[in-house]
């Protein structure tokens, strides 16, 4: 499999949904430490809605479907993370809506736009201890391996996102509720950054499964 189509997007969203569902308590917990503890709840809600939409949508272009998912997430999950991810899907999808299928090159476009739009919306940059610290390195890894196979490039992205998660834990939070904790945020794992790894993980599981 060298490209992703509608069926693949549907399966990827299901993968992400499953990962989120089985980590609901963990997200709850991470967000409780320096937030309001709703992250597990809003993420399961967001991806349940996204999955429902992905299954029933008649959209034929992967990028357009991804944009639709963003619109649905924005309506159902207006929390910080919900809105950011919604923005990511909308702008990421838009960046590739002229392609019928997604190869390594388009996947890089998608995540670049995804990460960039979150940075715009959240007025944040890498190093702020947010979802960007896992998604931005992943997008960079996709860019550098864009001429490799899908499996190779998503594997590189996965590795980058996990490294990013480790790095972000050592950072000091600058945005959202976590920022109120200032230096106390150092050493604590960020919920949003964790969600970033789950999104990449969903793509990774689908792509590697099919290749086996």
């Amino acid at each position: 499999m060298e490209t992703l189509r509608i069926k693949d997007i549907q399966s990827i969203i299901l993968q992400i949904k499953n990962i989120i569902d089985s980590n609901q308590d963990k997200l709850m917990e991470l967000d409780s430490v320096m937030g309001d503890g709703d992250l597990g709840f809003t993420m399961t809600k967001a991806f349940a809605a996204a999955h429902e939409e992905a299954v029933k949508s008649e959209e034929k272009i992967p990028g357009k479907l991804l944009t639709r998912l963003g619109i649905v997430i924005a309506k159902t999950s207006p929390s910080t993370m919900g809105t950011l991810i919604a923005t990511g899907f909308m702008k990421g999808g838009k960046s590739i809506d002229s392609y019928d299928e997604i190869g390594p090159e388009e996947l890089a476009y998608f995540f670049e736009a995804f990460a960039r739009s979150i940075m715009d919306r959240g007025k944040s940059v890498p190093g702020n201890k947010t979802i960007i610290d896992t998604l931005f390195p992943a997008a960079e890894a996709l860019r550098s391996s864009a001429n490799e196979s899908l499996v190779k490039s998503i594997s590189a992205a996965r590795e980058a996102s996990l490294k990013g998660l480790d790095a972000s834990t050592k950072m000091k939070a600058q945005h959202g509720r976590a920022a109120y904790y200032q230096d106390n945020s150092i050493g604590k794992q960020d919920g949003g950054a964790t969600v970033g790894t789950y999104i990449i993980e969903g793509f990774y599981r689908h792509i590697t499964q099919l290749s086996i």
Partner: protein, 331 residues
Amino acid sequence: MNDPVHFVDEMLQGILIAHPDQLTTVDGNLRCIVKTNKEKKNKVGIATGGGSGHLPLFLGYVGDGLLDGCAVGGVFQSPSSDQMLEVTKSIDQGAGVLYIYGNYGGDIMNFDMAAEMADMEGIKVAQVIAGEDVASAPKGEEGKRRGVAGIFYAFKIAGALAGEMASLEEVKRIAEKTCANIRTMGVALTACIVPEAGRASFTIGDNEMEIGMGIHGEPGIRRGALQKADDIVQQMADKILADLPYEKGDEVSVLLNGLGATPKEELYIMARKLHEILKAKGISVFNTYVGEFATSMEMAGASISLLKLDGELKRLLSKPANSPFFTQVQL
């Protein structure tokens, strides 16, 4: 309480049925509340939005001489950009719409999205973000401060100017000016309880208090043994006065806000001490509001806000206003 899942919708149904002459929905969407009687053509519309669980914030300030509409989120949750757009379209009278809301990440992103969407529909939108809780970020980083009870003043004053048919730019200017002149400090004695969680997400001991705690339980600046009301007020006032700073000869409006479970009696005991402190500093008090203006479910505690006044702010603050939650005659 009934089923916590329906908490917000049942509350909204109650509000709408109790005040049908004053509040209604946009096309039946419970979470989009606007005035029943539309405003005059070309009046700037003012919208707010935010999480539920803070009544009278936010929708309680939709009324005459105040706001035109409000997007209502779940308990302590931002409403969606969608809802905001619906409210915006409903209240625009051709002169544009001003968003005034509190400085919380989720709300900002959603209002930003709504503003972009409104722009695409040809509606002029401006935004003013209120953040006046001195406990939430140090001086010099005012932009990071949370918006709490003092936002009431921005609603009141911007609403009064909009009623005079001022332009969007003018209404935005006065809202910004108001926000820049407010400072607030809070103290919490018990935790707030979110209905869906059913229990407090943190605890404050029986004989403890936390100075500077936010209205969602955000960390304050000092947790300690419960002190006398006078001592608490002194500490809160010290922080507030030094921050703007408010100085000898200044004239202020005072807002003593209860967070939900604190008796009005206690708020007045605090008001007494605060007036004493202000008098000693040579700061005169134009008027005093005491009551619940921004709450946090069953949280026991209070906040103090000061608004530094000039002639313009005083004139607008004095104008009458009327919503189901706040009624004022001409001062």
